[in-house]
Each structure stands twice: as structure tokens, then as C-alpha cells.
Subunit: 262 residues, 4 copies
């Protein structure tokens, strides 16, 4: 009885209403706060101002997430495949349960004699990924996922075209600029750094061609970059248009068709 | 009688015709001119050339806006909830009336012994916000607002996805670049500055990764930035498409349906 | 008879077939070549290599454009409002005839004792504008112009929103950065240079905020820049979608409606 | 019999099923691997670490591609126009067979006494272009190609408008900045480098205007750059929308029409 209610509250898909259950909403807020603390903690000036405070807050969050993890592990028994001890072990190694561990593990790993302080901190920041599990159950997500899925081939192809352009422009600049700027364009992988910054129109400007021919190729690359932005945007716009229209107008259209067939 | 005519002239929603009333058009021009003067006044070379001229022009604008404010306060009595003295006090603290104060207040605040010259100047520039109240009554605005409102969940979700990507790329670069560039990537909040410039494809170039692994992550971030631009653009394009079509074609479609059902 | 044939050949709108008349196609090529020469001539290293050659080529182009101008002036008499001497004078001061003068005038102005060499060269480059007159008669242009015209209010409004954001972000950065970077953010007009580079996602990086609060505002501005790109793109996408569909599918739909009403 | 089976396996259009034949899939992977090796080989630090290894791997790839080339040459005889010796010669000089040579030729050209090491390396990288031939037979490609083809005039026109804006902004900045920054804006071709970086919103920042008037023109150019991105994106979005809808809904619509006409 308690297990069933816990399962309904904790598993986003098991909640009967649309949206998230009250407990999951609280979990969302906790994740956001804990991630914010993890972000702020990386800043040395803040960390050194109150190191004990950060540790205490982290301990509270970890205790809460540990309790949540225990509840999820207990409630998982409601689903047939996670029943029993072998089922619970299967649950622990399921994708989202591993992501949940990100929220707890870094705290305990820090006590190990060998640990990488940077990696532990990143793991703490990445607990924000847990939001993705809960976000997947919003109505907006299904529309976005449907649009991305319906046009996944076209989007992949445009990524492929972008990759081809990236490589060609890097190869061209390698040929014309390598002699003058060996550090920045001395090989195709090095030229790719410039190439990606130009094709995505980011344009850091830390590396720019200096030969006239290199500038001509760079100009062509920059113009091609507009296409690299326009193609996936256009595909997504058309895909969203399809998804929104099929959701909003399908019932009415079906009705109209019925009228005619009568 | 006078109050009713004033109310009709001053309150954009009360004007019977589409568009703005003649008085509100004059107010629009005055706001634009006063904002332009406030912008130009911040430039020291211009201010020092003719300080008295700037003060005189500002005084004229403030006198005009003060008169307008008084008229609005008087005319607000036409609406039941702003009637009487308590209603007028409610009006003074209503959102748009507070924005209107921005046009007048800085002039008088400047005479106080304690004041921040920068904030007062910004308040003078921000009187341009008053245009937003009048702009809300254009036909184009309703189409934009409808599109934004209809897809607000999807747009919020794409903002959420962008925020997630922002944090992940900042955490990655913090891990790989912190040792080499402590000033720029020494914490996640610092790395966010680079991250936001890259994901939005602004790309200042004041901070760029220098380690090979950092450049690989930066390249992935830059490519993800195209998605960050493409997603909201695609959603907006589909939303505008829906709004425009429902506005233009609805009457015809309704007519066509009537033909069939006959 | 000759005048009528000249008029039909030279005036793009008078040509009976779609596209351009043979003579106008030759004129297009001449304009492109003359503009290219004008562009190359501005480069000192090229100009000094063969100054006489550039002058000779320019003289040939001007002779050809002078002959064309004479023909157009003669052929204009076919249209009632340009008939007679007073009509011809009216023609000379019509918009496109003045643009045509750009192709000839700089050559003769150069012989005057007082002249600005930069302005004369720019005028030579701007003869490329003459292509716009001929381009207006392509089918693609009408689709683009229709889409822009149908949504001109929405596009103008998004320009207005962009202008508002531009001013607000410039005012914010002026307030927080003026003390630290007087040269770059010492006034709102100066801050606008940074603001426009950020909101359009150009991001030169010659000027960037250095205070933490300035970076926070800059990040918000950069994210808002995505909206500034997404809004007009979405409006244009929806507008083009409308125009293309009404052109391609209208006949079929009308036919279908006829089937139903039968 | 063998020739027919080879032809069916090697020629993408001759494969009866949708997608690629098993042999062509292997060829795809080989092309990707060989291109990756060619990219890595350009990096001096990697090349010097194991020069013999790179040569050996390259030799294996060239042997495989040589065998593939031979098979394609043999199988081409299945098509009437490539039959016989004269047909085979025609095949060798066909577009895609020449692209195929890119995968083999650089290896042998390297033994010639006179050769450009940069060009040979770029040719090796460009063997990735061979993927384009195989990619053309995916379903996603046909949708993209159809959309691009249907709106090629509009896309070309927007390229033309972009070119015009590019030239005008370069000419303006040449006039106002040439005196102050001779190196960067001393001629229109030089100013084009800045102009293209700004209009495509790449914004390297290696060259920026310093005069107030130059900054005003640059701001206008940057804002125009949004249009340069928005126009082709909008056209592509509308074109994809058309293509996707005609593909998905055509059968249903035809069915519906049949219902009505019954």
C-alpha cells in the first residue's frame, strides 16, 4: 500500500494526472538548489569564505537524496521486472538509477584516499541531469521529441553535410596557411579549430587567416556557415509545424471528413 | 465629459479605432525624443559642450510628462476600480503608472543630496519602456503575443535544454582547463562566461580553451550552439505559421465547411 | 518604331516574356564587370601596377553606359508621363534614372578641380545598385517582396523590440561598467557599440565587460540575442510558407472546392 | 553473371532495396577510416611519432581502393554507355570516377620527383567527398534536394541581396575608415574581409572600425546580418514544410478526394 503510493509519487510515468507529482516537484527544486550550490562551490573565492557552510549544505542535500534513492529503490518493486533482490540489482544498474547516483556518490568518493577533485565537482554539477528524467514527462517534451524523431534522417544528413564542409574548409586552409601560421594551421586537426569556429559563426578570432587566398576561402566558409545554420533550423521549423498542426487540427479534420462521408 | 474624452484619448485600449489616438501618437514622439536626449546626455563630450541646453530640454520634457501624468491620473477615474482617492492611490501603484513615473522622477531625484548619477541617467534612458505600453495595442503585437503564448511551454523547454547544455559545457571546460587558465576557467561560474558566449554563437574570443581536449569540448559546444539557435527559431516559425494561417484562412474555411455541410 | 523596340528592350516591365530582354542581360553583365573593376581599382597595389589600364577600361565602360543612358532617355518618350522635353526632365530626376547616373557621373566629376577621391570611388562601386532595378522583375523577387510586405508590421515590431533590448542592455552596461572601462562604456552611445555586437551575435570581442555584474548582464543580452534572431526568422519562415502555398496550391484547392460544391 | 552482381552491389542506384548494399556500406566505413588517417597524418607530432605506420596503413587503404576501382571499372560494362574499351575510357573520365581517383592517386603521385606535399595531403583528405556519391541515395537527401531545388530562385536571390549588402557595407567602410586604418580598410577588397565577417555574424574581431561613423555603419551592417541569416532560413523552412507535407499527406488527400467524388 505504502509502496504503491510511493511508486505513484516517485515514478513520473505512474502519476495519473498530467505534469509531476507533488513529491517530484519538491525533488526538482532540491536538484536545482543542490546543483546551484555545486556550481557556486567551484568558485575558490566563495569556497574559501565559508568552507564549512558548503560542506554542511552538501551533507544535508546528500542525506535528502540518499533518502529519496532508498525510497525509489523500495518503490521500484511495484514494477514486475524490478521485483525481488535480482530485480533491485537490475534497477540499480538501470540508466536513470545510475544518473541518480551522481547526486550522492561524489560526497562519499571524496573520502577515498585517491580522488580527482575536479571530476568530483563536475559530478556534483551534473546532478542537474536528473532533471532530464522528470522533464521528459512534460507535454512540451513529447512535441519536441516527436519533431526531432520524425526528421532525424534529415537532421543527421545536415550534420553530415556540415561535417563534410568542416573538413573541406579545414583542408583548404591547411594547404594555404600552413606555411605562414604553423601553430594554428599546421595540420588539418589544428585547422579544424578555426573551421568549426567559423562555420558555426561563433568566430572567436583567436586564429584568423592572414594570406589573401586564405581570406577568400574563409569568406566562402563564413557564407557556407549561414547554410549550416539555416538547414537544421528550416528542417526543425517544418517538423514543428507538422507536429503542432497534427496535434491541434487532427480532431477537427477527422470530424470534417466524417461530415463528408456521411 | 472632459474626463471621458481625456480617458478615450489617453488610454490606448479605450480608443475606438484601431491604432493609437492622436494624443498618444504625440506622446510616442515625445518619449522617443526624450529618450534620445537622455542617451546623448550620457556622452561626456556632448554634455560638457552644452550642459545648460541639456538641462533646459530635460526640464521641458519633464513638464510635458508631468502634465500628461496628471491628465492620466485624472482620467483614470473613468474606470470603476480607479475611482475616488483610494482608487487613485491604487492607480499610482499600478504597473504602467509606475513605469510612467520613470519619465518624471529622475529629474526631481537629482535635487536630493544623496543620489547615484548613473542610476538616474539609466532611469531617464529607460523611459523608452513607456513605448511598450502603447505598442501593446498594435495588431502586430497581438499576433506575436499569441504565437509566444501558444508555444510558451515548448519555448521554456528549449530554454531549459539550453540551460542544461550551458551548465554541462561549463562543467566540462572547468575540469579540463582550470589547471591551465585559472583566471578564465577556475570555477564553473567563470567558465559559464565562455560557455554562454560560445553557445549563443556570440564568440567574443576574450577567453578560449588552449588544451586540445578543451578545444574538442569547445567544438562540440559550438555545434550544439546551432541547435540552441535552431530550436526556438523553429518553434517560433511553426507558431507564427499557425497564428497567421488561423487569422487569414479561418473565415474562408468556416465558409467552406458550411458549403459541405449544407 | 525604333523607339518602341528600344523601350521594350530596355524597360524591364515592358518586355512581354518573363525574365529579362537580351539587351538588359548584356547590361547586367556590363554592370557586374564595371563594378568588379571599380572594386579592384580601390586596391592601391593593383591600381599602381597598371593605372592607365584601369583608366582605359573605365573609359570604355562609361562610354557604353553613356550610350545606354541616351537610349533610355530617348525610349522613355514611349511612356506618356515622360513625353516631351518637360517629360524627359522629369525622367532624368526619377529615382532609377538618378541611380543610372551613378554609373557615368563619377568619371566626369573626377575632372573637376575639387573632388573627394573616396566618394568618387564609392559611387563607382555603387553602380552595382543598378542591378536592383533589373532584379525586381524576377519571379523570385515578387515572392520575397510579397512575404516581406504581408508581414511588414510584425517585422517592424520585432525591429522595435530589438531596438528596445539594445537600449536597455546598453543602459545597464553603462551603469555597471562605466567606472571601470570609461573608454568603452563611458556613455550609452558608446555602450551601444558593444550592445549591438552582442545582440546580433556578431561578438567582435574588442570590447567586453570585465565586472562580474557586467558579465551577468552581458550573458542575459547574449541569450536575448537568440530571440532577436529567432523572431524575424520565424516571421519570415511563416510568411514565405504562406506565399509559397498560396501560389502553388491555390488553383488545386479552388478546383477541389468546385468538386465538392457540384 | 559476376559482373551483374558486382554492378548491383557497387552502383548505389542499381541496388534493388532502399539504402546501400552491404559492399557499399563497407566502402563507406573504409572511406571514413582512410579520411580520418589522412587527417591525422597531417599533424606533424603524430606523423613523426610513427611515420612507417602511417605509410603502411595508407598502402593498405590504397590497395583496397585500387581493387574497388578495378571492380567498378569492370562492373561499369553493365551500363550500355560504358560498354567496350571506349565506354570504359568514358567511364574513367566521368565525374564520380574522377572523384574515386582522389582516393588512390595521391599515393602514387608522391613517388614523382616533383610534387607538392600539401596538395597531396589535401587530396587524401578530400577522399571523404566520395561519401557524397553514396549519400545521394538516402531518402533524406531527396527531400533536402527537392526543397533546395524548388526554391533555388529565391535562395539565389537572397544570395544576390547578401552580395549587394556585402559590397555596399564594404564600400561605406572603405570611405570612412581608409584614412585611419589603411591596412584593414585601405581598399574595398580589404574591407570585404571585415564586411563578410560582420554580415555572417562570425565577427572575428581582428579588424573593427574605430571612427564613430564607421561604428554606425558597422552597427547597421550587423543588424542587416540578421536579415541575411533570416531570409535563407525562412525560405528553407517554408520549402521543407512544403516537401514534408506533400510527402506525408498526399496519399491521404488523394484518398479523401476520392471519397468526395464518389
Amino acid at each position: 500500500m505504502l509502496r504503491e503510493r510511493l511508486h505513484r509519487q516517485l515514478t513520473p510515468g505512474a502519476w495519473p494526472d498530467s505534469g509531476l507529482s507533488p513529491i517530484n516537484r519538491v525533488v526538482c527544486v532540491l536538484i536545482l538548489l543542490a546543483s546551484l550550490m555545486a556550481v557556486l562551490e567551484t568558485e575558490p573565492t566563495l569556497r574559501q569564505a565559508a568552507p564549512d557552510l558548503f560542506f554542511a549544505i552538501e551533507a544535508v542535500f546528500v542525506a535528502l537524496f540518499l533518502a529519496e534513492y532508498g525510497c525509489r529503490l523500495y518503490a521500484a518493486g511495484e514494477e514486475p521486472r524490478y521485483r525481488g533482490i535480482s530485480g533491485r540489482i537490475r534497477y540499480v544498474f538501470s540508466f536513470w538509477a545510475l544518473i541518480d547516483l551522481l547526486a550522492i556518490l561524489p560526497f562519499f568518493l571524496a573520502f577515498l584516499p585517491f580522488n580527482n577533485v575536479f571530476l568530483l565537482r563536475m559530478m556534483r554539477v551534473l546532478r542537474i541531469l536528473r532533471l532530464a528524467r522528470l522533464g521528459r514527462f512534460s507535454r512540451a517534451w513529447s512535441a519536441l521529441a516527436e519533431a526531432l524523431h520524425a526528421r532525424s534522417y534529415e537532421l543527421l544528413l545536415s550534420v553530415g553535410v556540415a561535417g563534410l564542409l568542416l573538413l573541406i574548409s579545414a583542408a583548404c586552409l591547411y594547404v594555404v596557411e600552413a606555411a605562414d601560421q604553423h601553430e594554428a594551421f599546421g595540420s588539418v586537426p589544428r585547422a579544424l579549430w578555426w573551421s568549426i569556429a567559423t562555420l558555426t559563426t561563433v568566430g572567436y578570432g583567436d586564429v584568423t587567416p592572414i594570406t589573401p587566398l586564405g581570406k577568400v576561402f574563409a569568406g566562402i566558409t563564413a557564407v557556407a556557415g549561414i547554410g549550416i545554420i539555416a538547414m537544421p533550423t528550416g528542417i526543425l521549423a517544418a517538423a514543428f509545424s507538422d507536429v503542432f498542426q497534427s496535434k491541434d487540427h487532427q480532431p477537427e479534420r477527422r470530424h470534417g471528413a466524417g461530415e463528408v462521408e456521411r
